[in-house]
C-alpha cells in the first residue's frame, strides 16, 4: 500500500460507515506514520532554515505532527498534505523565532561549521565557509519579514511559487514581487558589506 493510499484509507472514510473504533484508529495511526515517513525530512529542513538549530528544528517537527494528530478528524479535506504540513511547521517556527531571544552570530557559525558538508576541505576552509555563510545569513536576517520569508522558502527546490503562495497565504504575484524586492535588498546589503571591508 503506497503512502497516499494509506492516507486516503485512513481519513477519507465516510462517516456513515460502521467501522469500529479500533480499526479506524489503527488506520489513522498508519496514515499518520506514513505522513511522518514521507515529510519529516522536508519539514525538518524548513524548520532548520529558520531556527538554525538542530534540536529546535526537531522539536518544531514533532510539534507539527502533534498538531496533525489533534486535528486528524478533518484531514480528509486536505488536498495537498505536503504544502499543508509545511504551512503548519512554518507557522510554528515563526512563532518560536519570535519568542526566542536573539542568539549571537557565533552560535550560527559554530552550528553551520558542524552541519555543513566538509568533504575534501581543510579545517580552515570549513571555518571560512561557515563564517561566510553565517555572514550571509545575518544579512538575510536584516531583510523585512515579508521579503525574508519568501526568499527563504524560495531556497527549497521542492516548492514552487504557487506552493510558496499557499504556505504564506498570499497570491502568486505577491510572491514574485516580494522575491524581486528581496533580491534587490540582498544585493544592496551585500554590496554595502563589501564596501565596508
Amino acid at each position: 500500500m503506497s503512502t497516499s493510499q494509506a492516507i486516503v484509507a485512513g481519513w477519507m472514510e465516510s462517516p456513515t460507515s460502521a467501522v469500529n473504533d479500533e480499526a479506524r484508529r489503527r488506520a489513522e495511526d498508519e496514515a499518520l506514520a506514513a505522513l511522518v515517513d514521507q515529510y519529516a525530512g522536508a519539514l525538518y529542513r524548513v524548520a532548520y532554515s529558520v531556527l538554525r538549530n538542530q534540536a529546535d528544528a526537531e522539536d518544531a517537527v514533532q510539534e507539527a505532527f502533534v498538531r496533525v494528530l489533534r486535528h486528524r478528524d478533518s484531514l480528509g479535506e486536505v488536498r495537498d498534505h505536503r504544502v499543508w504540513l509545511i504551512r503548519i511547521v512554518w507557522n510554528i517556527v515563526l512563532d518560536r523565532k519570535r519568542r526566542a531571544k536573539t542568539r549571537p552570530e557565533t552560535d550560527d557559525v559554530s552550528e553551520l561549521a558542524r552541519v555543513l558538508p566538509s568533504t575534501g576541505l581543510s579545517a580552515e576552509e570549513i571555518a571560512a565557509a561557515a563564517q561566510h555563510h553565517a555572514h550571509v545569513l545575518a544579512c538575510v536576517d536584516q531583510l523585512p519579514a515579508k521579503e525574508r520569508q519568501v526568499l527563504m522558502l524560495s531556497a527549497f527546490e521542492e516548492l514552487t511559487s504557487v506552493e510558496i503562495a499557499a504556505v504564506l497565504g498570499i497570491s502568486e504575484s505577491s510572491v514574485r514581487s516580494r522575491l524581486f524586492r528581496a533580491r534587490n535588498l540582498m544585493a544592496g546589503l551585500l554590496d554595502h558589506e563589501r564596501s565596508l571591508r
Binding site: V66, H133, L190
Partner: protein, 183 residues
C-alpha cells in the same frame, strides 16, 4: 523555480551568494532517526490522550457514542429545543410590571438595660405664630367708602337734613309730650 521574468541579471548575480547559502541550508539532511523520534512522540501523545480522555472537549459515553451524523444532528436539535424552551418558559413567567421594591427600615431597638421612652413622642417647640388678621367685612366697608367720596358727601347731607327735621319734630314732640308730662 521561483525566478521572476522581470528580474535584472545584476540583481540575480549579486544576490546569488545569499541564495546559494540559503539553498545549502535548505538542503541539509535531516538527522538520523528523526522519523522514529517523531513517531515515538506521537504515540506518547496518543497514549496520554487516551488516558486523560482529552481527544475531544466533551466525549460521548461509550454506550451511546453516535456512529452517524443524524444522531449528532438530533442531539444538537434536542439541545437547541431544550435551551429555547427554557428561555421561553422563563420569559412567559416573568411579570411585565413588577411592584416597586419597598425598603423596610428596621425598628429602633431600645438601649439594652437603659430606660425606654415609653412610647412618648417628642413635640418640637414652635415659635410664636403671626398676628391674627383683621375682620374682612369692616375692612371692605371702609374701602368702599374711601373709594366713593361724592356718594359719601350725599349721604352725609341727607343725613344732616333728616337729623334737623327730626330735631324739629322732636322739639314739637317734646312740646306735645311736655304737657303730658306736665299733666
Amino acid at each position: 523555480m521561483t525566478s521572476t521574468p522581470h528580474e535584472p541579471r545584476a540583481t540575480a548575480s549579486a544576490s546569488s551568494p545569499a541564495e546559494e547559502t540559503l539553498r545549502l541550508v535548505a538542503s541539509l539532511p535531516a538527522p538520523d532517526g528523526l522519523e522514529d523520534r517523531v513517531n515515538a512522540a506521537l504515540s506518547a501523545e496518543q497514549n496520554r490522550d487516551r488516558v486523560l480522555g482529552r481527544s475531544r472537549v466533551l466525549a460521548w459515553p461509550r454506550a451511546i457514542r453516535p456512529e452517524s451524523s443524524w444522531m449528532r444532528t438530533a442531539a444538537a436539535a434536542a439541545i437547541v429545543f431544550v435551551v429555547a424552551g427554557g428561555g421561553w418558559g422563563v420569559y412567559t413567567r416573568v411579570e411585565q410590571n413588577q411592584p416597586a421594591k419597598v425598603i423596610v427600615i428596621p425598628a429602633r431597638m431600645p438601649a439594652p438595660g437603659g430606660f425606654s421612652g415609653a412610647g412618648a413622642m417628642r413635640t418640637p417647640l414652635t415659635l410664636p405664630g403671626p398676628a391674627a388678621p383683621q375682620p374682612v367685612k369692616a375692612k371692605t366697608a371702609q374701602t368702599k367708602a374711601a373709594k366713593k367720596p361724592a356718594a359719601r358727601a350725599k349721604t352725609t347731607s341727607n343725613a344732616s337734613g333728616r337729623s334737623s327735621a327730626a330735631g324739629a319734630t322732636g322739639s314739637s314732640g317734646e312740646g306735645s309730650t311736655r304737657p303730658d308730662a306736665s299733666k
